[in-house]
């Protein structure tokens, strides 16, 4: 990371942390869904739009984190 300027370094870390945070939230929600009485039709189908939205947010930070210049 030494060859990054401080601003890039902070952004790099920020995207990485945000990706991690959203990934953890997303996985917890998925696990919560799996433990429901009917994980399929009761959880993954009715809430699919919300799940895909959260997945989308996660993917945005994941792309930023993965592609942002790292040392």
């Amino acid at each position: 990371m030494n060859n990054l300027n401080p601003k890039s370094y902070i952004l790099n870390q920020l995207f990485k942390e945000l990706f991690f945070a959203f990934l953890v939230i997303f996985l917890i929600i998925l696990i919560y869904g799996l433990f429901q009485k009917d994980p399929g039709l009761g959880f993954f189908v009715p809430y699919w739009k919300k799940l895909m939205l959260l997945l989308g947010v996660c993917l945005v930070f994941e792309i930023l984190a993965v592609f942002w210049r790292r040392g």
């Binding site: 993954f44 189908v45 993965v66």
Partner: protein, 503 residues
């Protein structure tokens, strides 16, 4: 020396784990067949597959061109070697297709993404994905052996040939992918569509990255020529124009006959309508669907930044698979193609898990992520007992049916003809007597020697409504031309009755 020994024991441990996983896959897939003593494979499609195999055994060749006979020749060969009849051979061979499929997935992942991704793919695909298990238990044996085994092996050598530029891989890719049209028509269509998407992507990738583009172009063109010479052209000779038209029309007929193209696409659509996008996580399984989608940034990075062709291959495979699973005019069976996403999504999921754990190189983030992904996957594995007996309701021949059919075989003349009401598609294969399914129409039964009334049980295979079975029972009671000779089970619609038809 210690280092070498450590390395060796690591390899042995890895091999033991892989062996254990494959044994687990065999156990899971053979469990129902052995525990519930299946007499026939589940579903009604296997009737066609067994009939074809039987004809190959009797006449030495497949019935008139219609259905690709590759799978049936294999079962006929196994039947000859084992000395078992084609039904028994099919019953004990079809769960093995899942093993072959898992083997192809493992080898592909091992070749291009390393042991960690390979083992994880094996777990995800072998134990967590309901597909291609669902396809298999629906009687889609040729589909599974082709799209989930032969095509994957073909892709393995195709990508090897592209990456390492060895002519041995080119020949193997050509031969294996060329075999696809002989095994399954829809898989041929899927393979054609995937190659149409993958080939230009790889060529463009080779051109942009300047990785010996000319040689790669030569290699890909040679593979395609081999596929046409080995697969498409002989298939044309063997099956005739009609068979290839099924595949080709969907692409080239667009220009030749728009009307024919739309008709063909929409008529096939009705056989396996598209899934609503909200159902994808259930069809493919939430594990593969969500983890697979999360792999997109790592796949992009793999080929855009790291210039690795295998990541591009996976990205295009999954993306093209998603496109063809939607109800577009060029997607003849979107519902069926959704199931075929299981393999690329298993591989993508495994890539995501391994790459994301590598990405978070600090202890705590890696541990938290590892635990969450672990819980997610373990929860899936805990659902395995739910598969026990899941497809029993699709096995049309149970103890009572077998008893009745065996009685027919042993106690009626070989040339006796049967009217079967309302239907039993396995009747001819299990009794070796000629028969006709009459449904509820008993007017023409005087042309036959016996009437076999099948039992009803609440299930879609028998029909959810017993009315027609009750109607048949009521009607035969008052008919003087029928003489009851044998009953099996209850003396109502839940039992089987055999009548002699008085002439």
């Amino acid at each position: 020396m210690k280092k070498i020994l450590n390395h060796k024991s690591k390899i042995i441990n890895l091999q033991s784990l892989v062996m254990l996983l494959f044994l687990g896959i065999l156990f899971v897939n053979y469990f129902d067949v052995l525990k519930f003593k299946y007499y026939v494979p589940p579903g009604s499609d296997p009737v066609t597959h067994v009939s074809m195999t039987k004809e190959i055994l009797e006449t030495g060749k497949a019935p008139a061109p219609g259905y690709p006979p590759g799978f049936h020749y294999i079962v006929a060969g196994l039947s000859k070697i084992s000395g078992a009849d084609p039904i028994k051979t099919m019953v004990y061979f079809y769960p093995f297709l899942m093993f072959l499929s898992a083997l192809a997935v493992y080898l592909f992942a091992r070749q291009f993404f390393g042991p960690a991704v390979a083992i994880l793919s094996l777990i995800l695909f072998g134990f967590l994905s309901p597909q291609p298990r669902q396809t298999l238990w629906d009687g889609g044996f040729p589909n599974v052996i082709t799209a989930d085994f032969i095509m994957i092996l073909g892709f393995l050598f195709f990508l090897r040939a592209y990456k390492y530029e060895k002519w041995r891989d080119v020949v193997l890719a050509g031969i294996i992918l060329g075999a696809v049209p002989f095994f399954h028509h829809l898989s041929s269509y899927l393979m054609t569509f995937l190659l149409i998407c993958i080939v230009p992507s790889l060529l463009l990738f080779g051109f942009i990255t300047k990785q010996n583009f000319k040689k790669k172009l030569q290699i890909i063109l040679t593979i395609l020529v081999l596929v046409i010479l080995i697969g498409a052209y002989p298939a044309y000779i063997y099956f005739g124009k009609g068979y290839l038209e099924q595949i080709a029309n969907l692409f080239i007929a667009h220009a030749a006959s728009l009307k024919g193209f739309i008709w063909r696409s929409t008529s096939l659509n009705s056989e396996a309508p598209p899934f609503d996008i909200s159902w994808y996580s259930l069809v493919i399984s939430p594990y593969l669907w969500f983890l697979g989608l999360l792999s997109i940034p790592f796949l992009l990075k793999g080929f855009l930044k790291d210039k690795k062709a295998q990541y591009l291959f996976m990205f295009v495979w999954a993306f093209a698979g998603l496109i063809i699973s939607r109800p577009y005019s060029f997607s003849p069976l979107p519902g069926r193609f959704t199931r075929e996403l299981a393999i690329p999504f298993s591989l993508c999921s495994a890539i995501f898990v391994v790459d994301s754990l590598r990405y978070f190189n600090n202890f705590w983030p890696r541990l938290i992520l590892g635990i969450l992904i672990g819980v997610f996957i373990i929860k899936g594995l805990l659902g395995l007992p739910g598969w026990v007996g899941k497809y029993n309701h699709m096995v049309f021949i149970r103890d009572l049916d077998k008893e009745a059919l065996d009685w027919v075989k042993e106690n009626t003349p070989k040339n006796a003809t049967f009217a079967v009401a309302p239907f039993n598609n396995w009747f001819g294969l299990l009794t070796q007597r000629s028969f006709v399914n009459t449904n509820t129409d008993l007017d023409k039964i005087k042309n036959y020697d016996y009437l076999y009334i099948n039992r009803w049980q609440k299930n879609w295979m028998w029909g959810e409504d017993p009315t027609r079975y009750i109607k048949i029972r009521e009607e035969v009671k008052n008919r003087p031309d029928l003489q009851l000779i044998k009953t099996f089970g209850e003396e109502n619609e839940k039992g089987i009755a055999i009548y002699k038809i008085k002439k």
